[in-house]
C-alpha cells in the first residue's frame, strides 16, 4: 500500500482533486463493486484469448443446447458452442462499442456544446435546434433506422449510436459552460489579458468536465445495452461473431428447452450495466463539491 500512496502523492500532490475523489470512492461500497465488475470486464476482454476455455466458434452439434455442467459452466448453445467462451469474447464487442460510441459522442458533443455555450448567438441557436431534432426521436428507434440505412456492420452500429448520443453531451457541456463562463475566475483571466481560446481551453473546459465524466460512465452502460439491443434485432454484429445481444437473440427460440442460453448472457449484461451505473453514481457523489470540505 505504501509505494502506491507515494506514487499517488508524486502524481497528484498531497490532496489534489483526484486523490480526494479516490478517498471518497474508497468508502462508497456500491461504487467499488461497480468498479470491480468494470475492471473484471476489461480484463476479460483484453485477455479473452487466454482465459476462454474453448474456441467460441467451435461447434459440436451432437451436444447442442446442453445445460450448464462442470465442463461447460454456462452450458452450450444451439450449435453446441461453449457459452462461457462466447460471453468472454462478446465482452470485447460490448466494451469496444461502449468506448468508441462514448468517445465519438464526447468529441462531437464537447466541440459543439463548447461552441454553442461560449460563443452563443445564432451559432448556439443552430446547434441547439439540431440537437433538439435528434433528441426528439426515441434514441434506439433512430439508431435502428440509421443502421438500416447505413447497412449492417459493427462500425455502422457504433456510428449510429454516437449520432444518437452526442446531443445529450452537447447540452450538458453547453449548460456547464454557460455557468462557468460567468464565474469570477474566467473574468479574472480575461482581466489578466488571456485570449478567448486560452480561457476556453485552460479554464472553462477543464472545469466543465465533472458532470461529463459521470454522464460518460453511465453512458457506457447505455451503449452496451443499445448494442445488445441492435444485435438482438439482427442489426449489429453478424454471426458467427459472438455478441451478448446476438446470443440472447438466438436463445430466444429455445427459451423453454434451454433457458440458460438467454438467461446467463442476460444476467451478465444486466450486471455490467448495473456496474457502470453504480460507478457513475459514486463518481457523481465524489465530484460533488457540496459533499466535500
Amino acid at each position: 500500500m505504501r509505494p502506491l500512496k507515494d506514487l499517488k502523492k508524486l502524481l497528484f500532490g498531497e490532496s489534489s482533486e483526484l486523490s480526494i475523489i479516490i478517498e471518497h470512492l474508497k468508502s462508497d461500497k456500491p461504487a467499488l463493486f461497480g468498479l470491480a465488475v468494470i475492471i473484471l470486464l476489461v480484463l476479460m476482454a483484453v485477455f479473452a484469448d487466454f482465459i476462454s476455455p474453448y474456441d467460441p466458434n467451435l461447434q459440436d452439434l451432437s451436444r447442442r443446447l446442453e445445460p450448464p455442467s462442470w465442463e461447460h459452466p454456462f452450458g452450450r448453445d444451439e450449435f453446441g458452442r461453449d457459452i462461457l467462451s462466447r460471453i468472454i469474447y462478446g465482452s470485447r464487442i460490448s466494451l469496444t462499442v461502449g468506448v468508441v460510441v462514448i468517445t465519438i459522442s464526447l468529441l462531437i458533443g464537447t466541440a459543439l456544446g463548447a461552441l454553442s455555450g461560449y460563443i452563443g448567438g445564432w451559432i448556439d441557436l443552430v446547434i441547439m435546434r439540431v440537437a433538439d431534432i435528434f433528441l426528439a426521436f426515441p434514441g434506439l428507434l433512430l439508431a435502428i433506422g440509421l443502421t438500416a440505412v447505413l447497412g449492417q456492420s459493427i462500425f455502422n452500429v457504433m456510428a449510429a449510436l454516437a449520432i444518437v448520443n452526442w446531443p445529450g453531451y452537447a447540452r450538458v457541456i453547453r449548460s456547464q459552460i454557460l455557468y462557468i463562463k460567468g464565474l469570477d475566475y474566467v473574468e479574472a483571466a480575461r482581466i489578466m489579458g488571456a485570449s478567448n481560446a486560452r480561457i476556453l481551453a485552460s479554464h472553462v473546459l477543464p472545469n466543465s468536465f465533472a458532470p461529463i465524466i459521470v454522464l460518460a460512465t453511465i453512458g457506457m452502460g447505455w451503449a452496451i445495452l443499445a448494442e445488445a439491443g441492435l444485435s438482438f434485432l439482427g442489426l449489429g454484429v453478424q454471426p458467427p461473431t459472438p455478441s451478448w445481444g446476438s446470443i440472447i437473440a438466438t436463445g430466444r427460440d429455445f427459451i423453454f428447452r434451454a433457458p440458460h442460453i438467454t438467461t446467463i448472457p442476460g444476467i451478465v449484461l444486466a450486471l455490467s450495466i448495473l456496474a457502470f451505473n453504480l460507478f457513475g453514481d459514486g463518481l457523481r457523489d465524489a465530484l460533488d463539491p457540496r459533499l466535500r470540505i
Binding site: 500532490g13 498531497e14 490532496s15 489534489s16 482533486e17 464565474l183 469570477d184 475566475y185 473574468e187 479574472a188 483571466a189 480575461r190 482581466i191 489578466m192 489579458g193 488571456a194 485570449s195 486560452r198 485552460s202 479554464h203 477543464p206 472545469n207 466535500r292
Partner: protein, 341 residues
C-alpha cells in the same frame, strides 16, 4: 510633482498616468438605457492611491470595467468619453492591443477571492499563466518568480503553497494570491474592486496593510473602489465620491475629510460609526438610490438632499473648484445661482 518632472524630461507629453474624461457607459435594457456611468472625469497620477467611493450600484465597478474595456457588451456600451492611459486613449485601441495592456499594464483584483481563482489549477500555475501571457519567460523561471512573489505578498512556505489548489488556502491567503497574480507583471495601475469586502476584519486589515506596503515599494498606482470611507481615509491620497453614475466630489483625501463640500459626502461621513462620539443611533440618508433609467432631473441627489431648492431639480450642477484641487458638484457653491432663487 517630482515624478511629473521626470516624465517631461523624458519627453513625454502627459502628466497623468490615467485620465478619464467625460466617460459615459450605458446599459441598454428593455426598460431603456441604464446610465450606470454618466459623464465622469478624474485623473490618477503615478504613485497615487485613488479612492472611488459610493454606495452599491452607483457605477464604481462599471467605471473599472470601462477602463479595461470589459463592460459586458451587449447590453453595456461605452457611449462616449476618453480613457487616456500613459497618453493614449484606450477606447481607440483594438481588442488585441487591449489584451496586451490588461494584466500587463493594468491589473485588477476583485471582491471575492474565493471565486476569482480557478479551482482546478494550482495557485503557482495561475501566477505562471499570468507571467507567460505577457512574456516569453521559460516555465522554470516563471515558476521561481511565482514562488518569489508569493513570498513577497506574505504567504509563508510559498514553495509548498504554490503547489496547492485554491481550496486548500484560506480566504486571506487567496486574496494574497490574487494580489500576487495582479502584481507579478509589475503593472502601472492596479484596480482593486472592494478587495476586502468578503474578508473578516483582521484579514481585511492585513490585506490593506499589504496594499499600503506595495504602494510604498513599487511604482504601481492603485485605483481603490470601496464603499468604506474608513479604508479610504487610511489608504488613499485622493478620492472621488460617486452618486448615481456621477462624481459629486473630488479632491485630496485630507481636504475632503476635513471639509466635505457636497451634502451627500457630508451625510455619508455622518453615517460612519465612530468610537470617539457617543450616539444612540447612526445617521442615515433618507430615500433610496435613484433609478438610473430615469434619473432625477437636475442634480441627481436633490430628492434626498436636505438643502435642495427648486433650482436643484432644473440645473445640473457643474464641477466647481471650491478649494484648490477640491471640487464639488453642488449649486451651493455657485453663489450667483444659489442666491438668485
Amino acid at each position: 510633482m517630482t515624478l511629473d518632472l521626470e516624465y517631461s524630461e523624458k519627453g513625454m507629453q502627459h502628466n497623468h498616468l490615467l485620465e478619464i474624461v467625460d466617460l459615459k457607459t450605458y446599459f441598454f435594457t428593455k426598460r431603456g438605457a441604464v446610465k450606470a456611468v454618466d459623464g465622469i472625469s478624474f485623473t490618477i497620477d503615478a504613485g497615487d492611491v485613488f479612492g472611488l467611493v459610493g454606495e452599491s450600484g452607483c457605477g464604481k465597478s462599471v467605471t473599472a470595467l470601462s477602463i479595461l474595456r470589459l463592460v459586458p457588451d451587449p447590453p453595456g456600451k461605452i457611449v462616449s468619453g476618453q480613457v487616456i492611459f500613459e497618453g493614449e486613449d484606450l477606447l481607440q485601441k483594438s481588442e488585441e492591443e487591449m489584451r496586451s495592456i490588461r494584466g500587463a499594464k493594468i491589473s485588477m483584483i476583485f471582491q471575492d477571492p474565493l471565486t476569482s481563482l480557478d479551482p482546478i489549477v494550482r495557485v503557482g500555475e495561475q501566477i505562471v499563466e499570468a507571467i507567460r501571457t505577457h512574456t516569453n519567460m521559460n516555465p522554470q523561471k516563471a515558476w521561481e518568480k511565482a514562488v518569489k512573489i508569493l513570498t513577497e505578498v506574505g504567504i509563508p512556505d510559498a514553495e509548498i503553497r504554490a503547489k496547492q489548489y485554491p481550496f486548500q488556502l484560506s480566504g486571506g491567503m487567496r486574496q494574497r494570491v490574487m494580489i500576487a497574480i495582479a502584481l507579478v507583471t509589475e503593472p502601472r495601475l492596479l484596480i482593486a474592486d472592494e478587495p476586502t469586502t468578503n474578508l473578516d476584519v483582521t484579514i481585511q486589515a492585513q490585506i490593506l496593510t499589504l496594499l499600503k506596503e506595495i504602494k510604498a515599494k513599487t511604482q504601481t498606482s492603485i485605483l481603490f473602489i470601496t464603499h468604506n470611507l474608513g479604508i479610504v481615509a487610511w489608504l488613499c491620497n485622493k478620492l472621488a465620491v460617486m452618486y448615481a453614475g456621477k462624481i459629486v466630489e473630488y479632491g485630496a483625501t485630507k481636504s475632503v475629510f476635513s471639509n466635505p463640500l457636497h451634502p451627500y459626502t457630508t451625510l455619508l461621513l455622518k453615517a460612519v460609526p465612530r468610537l470617539d462620539i457617543k450616539k444612540e443611533m447612526l445617521e442615515s440618508i433618507e430615500g433610496d438610490v435613484p433609478d438610473l433609467v430615469n434619473p432625477p432631473s437636475g442634480c441627481r441627489f436633490h430628492p434626498r438632499c436636505p438643502y435642495a431648492k427648486k433650482i436643484c431639480s432644473i440645473i445640473q450642477p457643474p464641477m466647481i473648484e471650491v478649494e484648490e484641487g477640491h471640487y464639488a458638484s453642488c449649486l451651493i457653491y455657485d453663489k450667483e445661482k444659489w442666491r438668485s432663487v
